[in-house]
Subunit: 424 residues, 2 copies
């Protein structure tokens, strides 16, 4: 490791830790004021942001990025307005800090309180979406955490401009400017150093593709909260209402096919496959969805004149993130549960049924972060759950599972009040 | 990696995962029955256990282990009775599973329930204490988790005998025998393989010295919950009651000096150092505690005729785990808070004071898993907190902080009930 890079990154982490101790006891109003100030500052600084973003876009085009990739880097006026709006929304959310989560008095008179506090210092590692810079900084700040942001090379100029505005807003609100810091280099070695600073940084959140997440999980000595994508199932039970089954399958698949809570796999109970699969298959096909089927599903669809393709075994565990779905016929509820637990990714899975005992069995047996009965898998989302904001959907089982909002960016500590108690 | 070792360890993990899905929906009574059966089985199997333990002890002596090390490996009749008793206690604790932690109905009519569920598969990596084998298996089983136990070479024969009894009790209670598995080799390469099986194992808990924990944290791609030891402080404020200050300092230091929540560092406010330090120092010295002091503390103790030594800078961040304590004088409450946050390990820290605003400021500002006002640091403990059992004291900030009992061995999932809702 280059000596000066190690010093640079370590110094960022040490300053973040110091800032985090101030943030942990900062008034709610100061954190909200910084967020509100930043919203206005971003709106007033369009010229600066556009100039910086323009440099990133020019480099992206020169480097041959596809138009879709360039589009992801672009901060349009609408996106800037959306950033400011979302900052104001985060400012308006209740402060998660200080809530007493549990209280007890022990037989020896000790009074225990378990109180929500920030985690401390959070490292956010992300790729090329500039809104992530502002969103993650805002959520960490609101929850009293210092953040260290490490974004992708393609968006470095934009991030630098945004980080400068964030720093100004922190100063204006009387909060430590080191509360939010951007790693001022995109050198990969800086990331390697960062991921091992476990005495200063308490949590790493990678936001990006599976490759980034895996790299971070394999190289970090700091605890990581992962946001992998999902292999989500909709199971159409034998007691499913036909119209509801069609509607939930179609919505889960096509409403936004590129996201983690979109359905990738359909299971249909054999007793109703003949009646329901043609209807569901035709509805999906009408939306442009390719159907990759097992033999039974393929035969039923063929008999009904709905085009399908034969699935390969790998298709049954695949996350397509596209207008493609794998379809299988299962013989029983328990087979559906076992299939989902074996082939899914424990993310978001749904049953469509009018049979309450079947639904109860499914919800108990399917080991996923969110299990839906008669609702679309697309509802596994912090906003839909009423969190007001989300930093992602955790696919881990420790700390936070499913949508992560402000409370999931917090830890707790125990406050113990005595009158001189000692242990015997 | 040897091919057959990889197969062996992977097969254990795959079978643990399958067992975990059964355990997650197993009746409370079956898990409790297995624990009660194991208590009786251990009591009836003293001969087998003694024979296996005797082989470990003979090898330990042949390998030149110290008498203290051999003692730690020894399962005396009292320790066996204690094991059985603690199994019955865990069986009697309430089932943590199934509790509804939150409930909400969204404006679109979706009903959300956040329900406590097991984590899944937990790998416990430990060293040479045979009680850890049974304790960890019991806590994981009670909380519905499958466990994979990997103990030290020195205790392998004893662990094998205990694992065989556990397997019999699981079978007797109608639970999958793969719910608790011992890695049947102490080959270090098996540990390296285990720590990377992140698609089957959900959490690793290392129980042992700092070297083991660091090795696990650096080599695991599975989330780790660490139980590091503690650099704990007692701060004697200027408004401290003298008798209470003496009693809490002495208890925090000497009641059990070798454990993580014992005090290692004493801070005394300058305004009362002249009056209180001689008394506290003499009380500690009377218990055989060596006092390593800064210049001010040393001068006060010298003036009072209490023997002390000059501390080196490193002593002020050291965990002695022995009858040794570092002593400093501080000028103000805020200096005490900053010193603890800088030099401590965020484990268990106490203030002794009759001044409520000072206590409130200390409890808010000290960033530790448990902060005590007028009570000994030794109370940071799952039993003392009323958890009924503990697997350790987490020094992490994610998932569990401080004492980890049955609830901290659990995750949660979201159950979402609808009437056909789809996202617009």
């Amino acid at each position: 490791m280059p000596e000066d890079l190690t010093q640079l990154v370590t110094s960022i982490a040490v300053r973040a830790r110091a800032a985090s101790l101030e943030l942990a006891v900062s008034p709610t109003a100061a954190r909200n004021a910084a967020l509100a100030d930043l919203a206005g500052r971003i709106e007033r600084s369009r010229g600066e942001i556009d100039a910086a973003n323009g440099r990133d876009l020019a480099a992206a085009r020169a480097n041959g990025l596809t138009p879709a990739q360039v589009d992801r880097l672009t901060l349009t006026p609408e996106r800037i307005a959306h950033l400011a709006e979302s900052l104001r929304q985060v400012a308006a959310l209740p402060d998660p800090l200080g809530e007493v989560l549990e209280e007890a008095t022990r037989p020896n008179g000790l009074r225990l309180r378990k109180v929500r506090v920030p985690i401390g210092v959070i490292g956010v590692i992300f790729e090329a979406r500039p809104n992530v810079t502002v969103d993650c900084a805002a959520l960490c700040l609101k929850s009293g955490n210092a953040s260290i942001l490490r974004g992708g090379r393609e968006i470095f100029e934009t991030n630098t401009a945004l980080a400068s505005l964030i720093s100004q807003s922190l100063g204006a609100a009387g909060l430590p400017r080191d509360s939010v810091q951007l790693v001022p280099t995109t050198d990969r070695a800086a990331l390697d150093i960062l991921l091992r600073l476990d005495s200063h940084i308490h949590c790493i959140i990678p936001r990006g593709g599976e490759g980034l997440i895996r790299f971070v999980a394999e190289n970090s000595t700091i605890p990581v909260i992962k946001h992998y994508t999902g292999v989500c199932f909709v199971y159409v039970d034998r007691a499913a209402d036909p119209a509801m089954a069609e509607s939930i399958v179609v919505n889960s698949k096509v409403q936004r096919p590129g996201v983690c809570n979109a359905a990738e796999q359909i299971l249909v109970h054999a007793d109703v496959a003949g009646a329901l699969l043609p209807r569901i298959g035709a509805a999906l096909a009408a939306k442009g969805v390719r159907l990759l089927c097992d033999d039974r599903a393929g035969a039923i669809l063929k008999g009904a004149g709905v085009a399908s393709e034969k699935a390969s075994p790998a298709d049954f565990t695949r996350e397509f993130l596209d207008l493609v779905v794998a379809v299988r016929v299962v013989g029983a509820l328990d087979e559906a549960i076992a299939t989902i637990n074996r082939d899914g990714s424990a993310h978001s899975d749904a049953i469509v049924t009018a049979d309450r005992p079947a639904a109860d069995r499914f919800m108990a047996g399917v080991d996923s972060s969110a299990v839906f009965w008669n609702a679309s898998t697309r509802f596994n989302d912090g906003f839909e759950f009423g969190f007001g904001a989300e930093i992602g959907i955790s696919t881990d089982r420790l700390h936070a599972r499913g949508p992560m909002g402000l409370r999931e960016l917090c830890s707790y500590k125990w406050l113990v009040t005595g009158t001189g108690q000692i242990r015997g």
